[in-house]
Symmetry: C2
Subunit: 197 residues, 2 copies
Amino acid sequence: MPEAQSPTRKRIVDAATRLFYAEGIGRVSVDAVAEEAGLTKRTLYYHFKSKDDLIAAYLDGRDQPNLKRMAGWFEAGQGGVDKKVEAIFTDLARATRHPKWKGCGFLRTAAELASMPGHPAVKAGARHKSNFETWLGTELSGHDIEEPRALAREIVLLIDGCFSIMLIHRNPDYVEAAGRAAATLVRARMSVSQVQG
Amino acid sequence: MPEAQSPTRKRIVDAATRLFYAEGIGRVSVDAVAEEAGLTKRTLYYHFKSKDDLIAAYLDGRDQPNLKRMAGWFEAGQGGVDKKVEAIFTDLARATRHPKWKGCGFLRTAAELASMPGHPAVKAGARHKSNFETWLGTELSGHDIEEPRALAREIVLLIDGCFSIMLIHRNPDYVEAAGRAAATLVRARMSVSQVQG
DNA sequence: TTGTGTATATTCACTAGTCGGTATACTTAG
DNA sequence: CTAAGTATACCGACTAGTGAATATACACAA
């Protein structure tokens, strides 16, 4: 039985991450992942029982890095909580301009697997999105906001709207527009004194 | 040269629509589409020069039906313009409960083709999304709303957020939450007298 | 009315290559 | 000797796309 922390396994997941994110899970063969990792397909199948398994491992590995990136954007935002939320979108707009940016790996995988709702990779995506929503709700809780968890959900919807529509239009103006909408939603739930101050 | 309005061509597009929407473009072979249409693959290739061509035709054929469906939901909404917007989300939430619902075909196709931004099917999706945004902006224009086109864009972002996140969570509560957020955004741009009245 | 030419439309059989996955054997470390 | 890990070589099924033949329908001439 393979080790869960094997360096070989990590090499495989890293290679899968590069290819799956760049091309999509359906357009990348197991052979291609093995070659990118510098080993044979049989070795890959020693560490993962199936391609579906590998896809799930790819997404599980993206959970914490993605959360930390978003949290960094939020925390670096200057001003009130509405501005910190808007900062997420400003930095996301910048990220979408990178030529290697291909949207959200979790959402793209879920879209490819829409006919298999119980797929382990979809579940990994659900865990990640819930983690993010929970984290944002907690952040909003300390700022005199009504129903911070409901607000977090609304912001999550705008962020995921950006991810998907950007794959169609490739126009960062949509991300900026979403940021302004998010700030409006934040202020709608802030106390009057806070909005005016 | 094949006719653009050929009934055979329509049969092929209808078959492709059923299969591509149900399974995703990457998981459906040209052979499968031909069999669903009740003819041979060679005939299909007489009417379409490639699979990519067929995918684009599939999405072009969904533009008007999808627009009409959304417009119907909006127009049937009772109350002010904020309520009519919210009605879109209420009806969308109902639609997502149908077992055959698999998200937005335009967004799912764009997600599958994220590494090919100039693909004709992605362009077809961009046309459709722009058509919808323009239609919504026009509807909002007659209702004493500031910057109706900016508001339309914000609502589009929430709708597409619903489409994508629903593929992950399969929980219509997200669509209802998006509807409330959209109504909030509408009221933020309505004149005071209108909000109070 | 019959025969011929032509464009449209369709089929069968096939190519060359890729897919996920595996049987078997080898190497190396404990 | 044993077990973990890796390699070569292969499997049957499927992939998008094509070559060559054929069916169908209609126009027009004898």
